[in-house]
């Protein structure tokens, strides 16, 4: 990586990179700043960037109005639950596709991915009726099931591309050494597969956290996650930018922080076998 570059060039490139990064990040920063303004200040022209009366009143009001913790816990349970369940189902499938590929493996995989292209609105009413009749309406279980099904194709595919990178020779070598299937899995494959599984997990938690169609339509009071929490702050009567910003920050902060801390992990598995 260490290429020889002149300091001058490095300064210029650094400046450009920071400027671009700042621009891309700016909407989030602006939301963050607005969440500490009063409603009046949030729409002031010219806008105030840093020098305004920082206030926590929006956060306090949002907390009084909604049970943030309940929504937060629902989001956690639903996104983590659906991802873990998805992994349990997907790991064996991806495993066998990668190591014992048949003639149809690729077709099966592609078919799985194509199920993700179904527009969810088209099947909302049937699912709604099914949920109603099975008592899954407004339960975390129901949402975990739906989101598992929705994310399953992506999970299988990510794992498949990752597992495929694991060279088969290692397995054969181990087999020559007399390792049984059990040892093979525990001592050789698992350590190699862990980074891929970890990043699949992270990506899917993020996707499930942000899923806003099913989570909004199949919940009411009990299982509603943060996506529903946001729906109670968008466009009420009167000024709302500051409160909306505060609610938005509360909804995205957990996943933003998780994403930042785990970005190395995330990136490592995000290659989709794209790197060769």
């Amino acid at each position: 990586m260490a290429r020889r570059v002149s300091t001058r060039r490095r300064v210029i490139v650094t400046a450009i990179a920071w400027a671009v990064a700042f621009l891309i990040f700016f909407p989030i920063l602006w939301t963050f700043l607005t969440s500490f303004k009063t409603e009046g200040e949030a729409v002031a022209t010219p806008p105030h960037f840093l020098f305004f009366n920082w206030t926590l009143e929006n956060y306090i009001e949002v907390n009084e109005r909604s049970d943030y913790f309940l929504h937060f816990m629902n989001s956690v349970v639903i996104s983590v639950g659906s991802t873990v369940l998805g992994l349990i189902i997907a790991i064996p499938a991806a495993w066998s596709m990668a190591f014992v590929p048949g003639k149809r493996t690729k077709d099966v995989l592609m078919w799985m991915l194509s199920t993700k292209m179904l527009p969810p609105v088209g099947v909302l009413i049937p699912i709604f009726l099914l949920f109603k009749n099975t008592g899954l309406m407004d339960t975390r279980t129901g949402l975990v099931i739906i989101l598992t099904l929705i994310d399953l194709p992506i999970i299988v595919w990510m794992l498949y591309t990752y597992f495929k990178e694991i060279p088969g020779e290692i397995l054969e070598a181990a087999r020559m050494d007399g390792a049984g299937l059990r040892e093979e899995v525990i001592h050789i494959l698992t350590p190699m597969a862990i980074p891929g599984i970890a990043s699949t997990l992270l990506l899917n938690v993020i996707l499930a956290w942000n899923e806003a169609f099913w989570t909004l339509n199949l919940t009411a009071a009990n299982a509603a996650p943060l996506t529903a929490f946001i729906a109670s702050y968008s466009s009420p009567e009167g000024l709302f930018y500051a409160k909306l910003s505060a609610a938005s920050m509360m909804a995205i902060a957990p996943i933003l922080i998780l994403g930042w801390f785990s970005q190395k992990q995330l990136v490592r598995g995000l290659t989709f076998g794209a790197v060769k």
Binding site: V43, R65, I125, F128, A220, A221, S234, P236, E237
Partner: protein, 437 residues
């Protein structure tokens, strides 16, 4: 002493077990200020009814409508109380989806409800929902700008008066636009305004055979007047402005006039949020010279109980409390008279505390009384509803037509094209639904 303590413990135990048997009701509601305020005042309700617990689900209007409609139509039963509008109540009541509220206690004083509102919530002599707050629409204007322009606003202005005032007040350099109106597409957004405006031009949505009327001179007059006002004197971006956007504009002093819901009056006169709080004047919604209908609508957010809920009694107790005179008094004592939910009870408008705290009370009442859902136009109509047509198909049609008019406002199509498209798409939907044979 010991005995007493024991008895006390017993009583405590009893209340504790009573609390165990509490009923939890789920209330779906809209995220408007009055509803949010009620959520903060629930202690009063709990004190009187410790056996009932209320679970709030607060949503943005569109999400709310979509969710409660799906829920009630599929009988999913997720909610025990729903916040719905005057558009839904007659349709749902007719379908038998709502619990009829015939046995209200005397203390509720049902005859105190404003007749216009009450009749909108009644189907075949059964009341199906209790109004939480009601509104009509009227004209809000800036007294200071009118004065500067050397004009006075008549109490019952014509569209010609409005145009003159808009022209005089507009100062685009200074960021002041003579008139702000809804432009965002939606049956409850721009179409609420335009349908009511069309009534004031002498027009109607359908003739007695359910033929859409967009090819009539009345609608043409409505749309061209509207477009002309907005293009000449309106703010930029008007085609995505709804109630909120206009409210924000008006509060910041960027609008000379604004015709919208009467509930906006308490927002624009509230000095905490509004820069122009002490400069707002009120007048009736405008009408065309010679037409005896003003362009004012009638709307109420109401609380209704879906049929089939297991918790009907608790739900009734709650909605009676939420729409009672006592609740009004409670809000008044905690937050002041200007913040009570308006537009539902005659007694409120006879209360001097309220009328002195709310300078717009008189005109609000006048506007509500001037709206007649059973006869919205000077011509005969086969439907009820002022700014809507109370048939299930209307949401879709109204929104599709609203999109055409919004596109015309954005300058993407001409007024004639918009009217033509509106006419043909409405005809198509009405044929599909079997109204036009």
């Amino acid at each position: 002493m010991k005995f007493r303590a024991l008895a006390g413990a017993c009583v405590l135990g009893l209340t504790a077990s009573g609390a165990m048997a509490e009923t939890t009701i789920t209330v779906a509601t809209v995220n408007n200020g009055d509803m949010i305020r009620m959520q903060g005042l629930m202690d009063d309700f709990y004190a009187a009814h410790p056996d009932i617990k209320v679970n709030w689900v607060t949503m943005e209007e569109n999400v709310l409508r979509q969710k409660v409609t799906t829920d009630v139509a599929t009988k999913a039963g997720q909610y025990d109380v729903m916040t719905i509008g005057t558009y839904e109540v007659p349709i749902w009541g007719k379908q038998g989806w709502l619990v009829a509220l015939d046995d209200l206690p005397d203390s509720y004083d049902v005859n105190d409800l404003l007749p216009a509102i009450r009749s909108g919530l009644t189907v075949d002599d059964h009341l199906y929902a209790l109004p939480f707050y009601g509104e009509s629409s009227f004209t809000m204007y800036r007294k200071d700008l009118m004065e500067k322009a050397g004009l006075t606003m008549p109490e019952d202005p014509t569209w010609a008066d409005i145009e003159k005032a808009a022209a005089a007040m507009t100062d685009k350099e200074a960021g002041i636009y003579g008139i702000c109106l809804r432009g965002k597409a939606g049956w409850g957004e721009n179409m609420a305004f335009l349908s009511a405006m069309d009534n004031s031009m002498g027009g109607r949505w359908f003739d007695m055979d359910w033929n859409p009327q967009f090819n009539t001179p009345e609608w043409k007059n409505t749309l061209t007047t509207y477009l002309n006002l907005m293009n000449e004197y309106g703010p930029p971006g008007a085609s995505s402005n709804g109630f909120n956007e206009n409210l924000a504009l008006f509060q910041q002093g960027k609008c000379g006039m604004w015709m919208d819901a009467t509930v906006a009056a308490s927002f624009v006169t509230n000095p905490k949020d509004s820069k122009v709080a002490d400069q707002v004047g009120f007048a009736m919604a405008p009408h065309k010279d010679g037409v005896a209908k003003n362009g004012n609508w009638l709307w109420a957010w109401t609380l209704a109980i879906p049929a089939g809920t297991q918790k009907e009694d608790a739900a009734k107790t709650f909605i009676e409390w939420a729409t009672s005179k006592e609740y009004t008094a409670l809000v008044a004592s905690k937050e002041g008279w200007a913040n009570v939910p308006p537009g539902t009870r005659t007694s409120l408008y006879e209360n001097p505390d309220y009328t002195s705290a709310a300078p717009f009370a008189d005109l609000t009442l006048k506007s509500i009384n001037a709206a007649d859902p059973k006869s919205p136009s000077v011509q005969d109509v086969p439907y009820t509803g002022v700014q809507f047509v109370a048939i299930p198909e209307f949401q879709a049609i109204g929104t599709a037509v609203g999109q055409q008019f919004s596109a015309a406002l954005a300058g993407q199509i001409t007024a004639d094209q918009a009217l033509q498209n509106a006419q043909s798409l409405t005809e198509r939907e009405m044929k599909k639904a079997g109204y036009i044979k």
